[in-house]
Symmetry: C2
Subunit: 384 residues, 2 copies
DNA sequence: AATTTCAATCCAATCGTTGTGGGGACTCAT
DNA sequence: ATGAGTCCCCACAACGATTGGATTGAAATT
């Protein structure tokens, strides 16, 4: 491979001159220009600054430049300065690919989009999570490689990315019971960290938010507002997040010495229409609850619409709460439970980087606290 | 670097045996096991299948293996078969990093998250776009590297990613007038393709959706339902998308021989509350419009809420339309304009890949047609 | 003065591929 | 037998960085 130095020697000028001719030809003497261009032609050189060029420019060896780049303290400040200057002058940027090859790291984190056959089921919370993930990873010098996991393809995509060494590890979200991805990644000893957890017996790094606690917060809030008949709309059984929240509901109700009734409980898929119907069912019971807790904002949204058909106002007539504090909750003034997505993302990245460095901290499983965001849907208001 | 072959020679067994010892020790004879393990220890070898191992296993040269991998037709079918078998047997996967270094391509596409200081302003449409982008790019053997562009940092992040050769090119979205990213990327001859366009005079590859046409569809629909007094809630002037849609409104109104009034037009930031107020203002005019066209779903959502405070029903009492067909539109039964995000994403990727290959097609600027999604908010309904 | 020590550099091998430029083996016509 | 022409395959030099071990000159020690 031809370097700036080769051209310089052939044209019998300095490396700096060659660079100047190639980047700002207008600032250079006629003779320099022609001789350099001739050399360039002869060697058919194309400008591409590498570490070698920097070394030649600074008058040191390649390794010295490398040490400077990597902040190796052995290098004398004067030399360091000289090299830095050369880097600046030539506008040099280390080639990540070459570095990756040598160090066999990629500084990339893989994150699979949650499968979304049904666009309505796309979870805005996870979009936000991905955003925060990207942000925090970047501050650690990592980037996120997003990929889509074809439905029912198992974890092919994960293996492929790892096998071809495109990523150093993975972040998982949307875990299910006995999540096969977790199992397989553990088996293959591929670094990963998860948002949410899967199987109590598996030992892997994750960050989760206490779903029971979230519902507890909601119910405490409702109790403080005098509600004693509290309904629930949650997922069908068998979904991890749903089950946790449902359980939280029962625990909190019992903890407060209240009772619930079957008629006040609905298990429905997470869609607007199903929740609408569920609200209808619950509010048809006698006595009917004065508050309805929903395991998700979408459900609350559907319930709210049902209230409107009865000309009931959420907050004033029936208290209504959601979960996840999605943008829609803000829009419709829905009391909801917020997960600290920013913190989760940063912790997950931290855990993952530790895994990649083969240093699993003692506390590699964290449970974070959600917080309650009270809005109009659970407190009576005079207007609007 | 030590290869399987080195170990095999030292232990005086076949390459296949070494591999077997290292992967399925239970299926191997005692003597093989000990001799191989001894060799492994002596060379302190760690299992890592490379093209060299495949070559040794198949009894061909490294380049032959490479040719097979890259489907070079020169290789004889029998040899090809032999190599394929070796690849399978050893579970070999080419190392992407090494390949990237050699070919100086990365098969990565950079996409910056739209800046979102204000979380409420996050655009779900772009989340969907990113998803589709990832999906289509993958089908072309590319992956998406997402990054966040720190606000006011200019296009530093873009340059950095390109300079360190992490990506082959970029996809842009959320373009503004005279977008500085477009200008700079054009200047630096960095491949990119955009969703949306920026400056009429710049020649760069993009895909856009005809915003005027979208509004026109809406207004034609309203006309067909007999509306003649049609209001508009749109962005303040100076935002590309907003201006296009506003213009579409005026053109369509005039084209239909109708007139508009200043009092029926509101320019507001894209928030629920501002739209609420705008609707209030518009509906206070006399005569008041029978329909309100909004340049965005969020605005329509705010307007809808205002209607509700008046006990007016969208669709029955006042027709209301949004734009972008975000999930919320589906939820609240809002007539909206849908952009073919899947098509856009695939076209953008196509254009970008062409740029990367330095083959700009004649049609490197496409304008796609939006479509109207009619829901209850613009058609009177009997129930619900 | 001879030897050791040490900080500051440098040399060269290496990471795992790709692809050019041969070259051996074979066929076919001379 | 010879030469030309194919057809397959291989040796080897890259790609652009990192890094262990060698080297060097000067300071410290003997």
């Amino acid at each position: 491979m031809t370097t700036l130095k080769d051209v310089a020697e052939r044209a019998n000028v300095t490396v700096a001159t060659v660079y100047q001719v190639l980047t700002k030809p207008e600032e250079v003497t006629e003779t320099d220009y022609t001789s350099v261009m001739e050399a360039v032609k002869g060697l058919d050189y194309v400008l591409n600054i590498t570490i070698r060029d920097v070394a030649a420019y600074a008058g040191v060896s390649v390794s010295t430049v490398s040490y400077v780049i990597n902040n190796n303290p052995l290098i004398k400040p004067a030399t360091r300065q000289k090299v830095r200057e050369a880097i600046r002058a030539l506008g040099y940027h280390p080639n990540t690919t070459a570095r990756n090859l040598k160090t066999s790291e990629t500084h990339m984190i893989g994150y699979a989009w949650h499968v979304a056959e049904d666009p309505v089921r796309r979870n805005p919370l996870l979009d936000l999570f991905l955003y925060e993930l990207a942000q925090y990873a970047e501050s650690c010098g990592y980037h996120i490689l997003t990929f889509t996991q074809p439905p029912h393809s198992g974890i092919k995509a994960y293996e492929e990315l790892r096998n071809t060494s495109r990523v150093d590890g993975f972040v998982l979200s949307d875990l299910v019971y006995d999540d096969p991805r977790v199992k397989r990644l553990m088996d293959m000893k591929i670094p990963f960290a998860a948002y949410g957890h899967s199987n109590e017996e598996w030992d892997f790094p994750y960050v989760d938010v206490d779903g029971q606690r979230g519902i507890q917060l909601v119910i405490e809030h409702l109790l403080s507002r005098g509600h004693e008949r509290i309904g629930l709309i949650s997922w069908p059984e068998g979904f991890r997040i749903g089950d946790v929240r449902t359980e939280g509901y029962f625990k909190a109700i019992q903890g407060a010495g209240l009772t619930s009734r079957d008629a006040w409980i609905a298990h429905t898929p997470n869609t607007f229409d199903h929740a609408f119907d569920a609200a209808h069912q619950i509010l048809s019971s006698k006595p009917r609850p004065t508050a309805i807790v929903c395991a998700n904002d979408i459900m609350a949204f559907g319930a709210k619409r049902y209230l409107e058909t009865l000309s009931l106002e959420a907050g004033t007539d029936v208290a209504l709460t959601g979960y996840d504090d999605t943008p829609v909750a803000e829009l419709i003034g829905l009391t909801s439970v917020r997960q600290p997505i920013g913190v989760i993302a940063s912790k997950v990245v931290e855990l993952l980087l530790a895994e990649i460095a083969h240093q699993r901290p003692i506390e590699h499983q964290m449970m974070l606290e959600p917080s309650l965001v009270v809005r109009a849907s659970s407190v009576p208001s005079r207007r609007r």
